[in-house]
Symmetry: C2
Subunit: 477 residues, 2 copies
């Protein structure tokens, strides 16, 4: 941990974000421009995200597989919108084993094409459907402006790819995954995301319809945090994914794809972090509880440490770390673990040993207010309850912040002002013209059109024409 003070989140959000990642040792810059090294603490968070999502995928019948990193350039060209969307961002392998390749290979920016090719080979009959495969993988998109976790040349994600017999089943899958992502974001990451549909302008290159979960960051900017696409028959037609139906007729499949990435780590940092540093939701935190022993001399140490060990053993159901670095003061350690966002700290000195208790300090409430004495009896229950309280409090705080920063302007002037420092939830006529105009003039994009609408009709916030749907407008990462 560096001795220099962390920039204030309220004063320089962007620099605060970079510094907190570097100092908490979540990630570091790679020598290759725009790539990142995810350090052990950051990767442990990702592993917890993976475990949590993977269990949900498997519970809904999905299986994992691994498709190749390299895709023939010609594959991308088979789906017109897809190649237009991705060709400016490709990394291309032109040489292998010292020879120039006959056909350049693209490092996958996403895997619809190569997976489509394999599905065409594997799927023969309606009995083979649905195919519900996910992969955890690295992908590469040659971005010009990069940002740790939010936008890097290489990033880590999961991409689900499914094939179905009917449009209805594909749509059901797409929405099931949207729900799954929403559930994960709210209940595990404590991020009160807003799910909804992307506009045609913002949808995935090659999709029929894209759905998204949108999160509000601590500076009120929006972050697209996960997407689920109904690809219609676009890829099935481009790659000839067909099946024989019950009447022995050849039919094209209906496919979907969906993904979340290490960007979620950025979302967690920017939703919950504060001037002290990270603040990780207990359900995902690599270290849920840090125990800091307090002693002034060897005698006290001999009293405290066996007790600390007892506490540690009682807490075996949690992810616990004992910080017994002898060269550092307790105060330094408090700051260090606050920077790293450990949700609960237990302070244990000789008085606590006497009183047969521990002092618990919540990361989300600074100072004395956040301190509670936990009796040693039933300490696991006490800690479990406190962690759940913190988890709930983080979500609630983020929800209050989000709702306080979503405004409902009815006219264009108000919208222009609102989106400088918040979101607008306003009527939209559905036209590309209004969408483009708003983006050009305010930098705000339509984040999503929620599936649950207030009902009724209104006037488009931009052109004033009749509108039947409301949309979220915001500046986004």
């Amino acid at each position: 941990m560096s001795e220099e003070k962390l920039p204030k989140r309220s004063e320089n959000f962007s620099e605060w974000y970079n510094q907190v990642i570097l100092r908490a040792e979540m990630a570091d810059y790679s020598p290759v421009r725009g790539c990142m090294v995810v350090r052990p603490y950051g990767w442990a968070l990702w592993e917890n995200i993976q475990k949590s999502l993977d269990a949900r995928f498997k519970a809904t019948g999905h299986v994992n597989a691994a498709f190749p990193l390299f895709i023939p350039m010609s594959f991308l060209e088979k789906e017109k919108e897809h190649v237009e969307g991705f060709s400016p961002e490709l990394a291309v392998v032109t040489h292998g084993g010292g020879q120039q390749l006959e056909e350049p290979l693209v490092v996958r920016p996403t895997s619809e094409t190569i997976i489509g090719h394999m599905y065409a080979k594997w799927i023969k009959s309606y009995r083979d459907l649905p195919v519900l495969i996910n992969q955890w993988a690295n992908v590469v998109r040659w971005e010009m402006r990069t940002r740790l976790f939010l936008r890097t040349l290489e990033f880590y994600w999961q991409e689900g790819h499914t094939a179905h017999a009917t449009h209805a089943e594909a749509e059901e899958e797409t929405l099931k995954i949207l729900d799954l992502y929403t559930d994960f974001a709210i209940n595990d990451a404590a991020i009160p995301v807003l799910p909804g549909q992307k506009t045609d302008k913002e949808k995935f290159a090659g999709a029929l319809r894209s759905y998204t979960i949108e999160a509000m960051m601590g500076d009120t900017r929006a972050l697209q945090s996960g997407t689920s696409h109904n690809l219609g028959q676009n890829f099935a037609k481009a790659f000839d994914i067909r099946y024989l139906d019950q009447t022995n007729q050849l039919q094209h499949c209906w496919t979907t794809s969906w993904g979340v990435s290490t960007r979620l780590i950025g979302a967690i940092i920017m939703t919950h972090g504060d001037d002290q540093g990270l603040l990780l939701p207990p359900k995902l935190a690599p270290i849920q509880v840090v125990i800091v022993p307090i002693y002034r001399n060897d005698e006290q140490r001999a009293l405290v440490m066996p007790y600390v060990e007892q506490v540690r053993q009682q807490l075996s159901a949690f992810r616990v770390q004992v910080d017994d670095r002898q060269e550092l003061t307790p105060g330094f350690k408090y700051n260090d673990w606050e920077l790293r966002g450990v949700p609960l700290r237990l302070e244990i000195g000789s008085k606590d040993v006497e009183k047969h208790s521990v002092m618990a300090a919540r990361r989300d409430i600074p100072g004395k207010e956040g301190k509670t004495i936990l009796p040693m009896d039933n300490i696991a229950t006490g800690v479990g309850d406190l962690l759940q309280t913190i988890q709930d409090a983080l979500l609630e705080r983020a929800r209050v912040f989000r709702d306080a920063n979503i405004h409902q302007p009815n006219d264009y002037l108000a919208l222009q002002e609102v989106v400088q420092n918040g979101w607008a939830f306003s009527w939209w006529c559905g036209s590309r013209e209004c969408e483009d105009k708003i983006q050009e003039e305010t930098k705000a994009t339509i984040r999503c059109v929620p599936l649950e609408q207030p009902g009724g009709e209104g006037q488009c916030v931009c052109c004033g024409k009749p509108a039947s749907k409301k949309a979220y407008f915001a500046r986004a990462y």
Copy 2:
């Protein structure tokens, strides 16, 4: 599952290997030459291997991270032996985002160089040591002759990279990992590997010393199944990885690296498989128990299926699949699951319901010999015991086969004959000349020099000069 008969393992091992992988849906060929698609059944096996190894890594103090896929070409050139070893096998990215890159990027063939660069940045003091990091990653080596799981352009592995203050600590780590791999191979994969040291000729490009676990496949050829390298200070000097010691002196670190890959899947297939197909060790099998309900009509089905469900619930501690595909006969299903190597099959018909038992069929013992009646009471214990019996039997069978095919020739003529269809364990003088000669004339290489030696002295099997060590010679994959 294809209707065509699987080639016989005894008649055409190589074709049997390919066919069993394709038909059991472990993997498939990618449209890009030499790459593979790992299908869900193969990936589930890899996930179990990962879980088992990852728990061992974490129990020994290692943490996971993720380093970038792309490495600047200049990094590889910093360690002379390393670049000589790897440069013929590189895949090179020359274009990104539509532009030619100033410096070509290598797709990592292994990550010592980029990790060395980062360690140089992170490690300052003896207090920072040891650094014990692992990553699960994909790597690319541009191989000319490829084989599913054994040698593919892209493969999946873990690579551990550690940094230490002293040579002794680095050596201790290297050997600790060799033991860990050995333990995993024997106890989880049921492969009786032989650990030992690689010769200078066979060691990792850039290492001081390489250790290996060597396995004998079902055709008696050797397969290098995992390696652990003491890199000395070679990479620390090339990348300037230094620390201030307790006396405030700058010292170069001592580093190690070690890895196992999806090649282990090939090892499992070629060690345990038979003419019926795969045979997976229970500890790693994606499906440990398959339940095949047997009924002739709806009435029987109505009797059998609730009982099957009861059995399934009793077996919740195991990885169980119920095969209730109604369009297929039980006999077809038996063959299908035998092909896929599920270690234990439970057959449940209306008689079993009456008798309050199930018929268990071991995959490793064909026909009636392998069948046991398990009472429904305590069925979980019965199944657990049987799975352990199968696990032990697989290891024992492989050990017997291995020992029967290791010979101890004392002269060169005998060695030449022995290695055509087995391994030689013979005295070796330690010279590169003899090692080269044997390889040229017999295609056998020195697989390893075991750490535990019989003691005493002998005469080199090739040149007859005095020799103090025995080595394993074999033709290898």
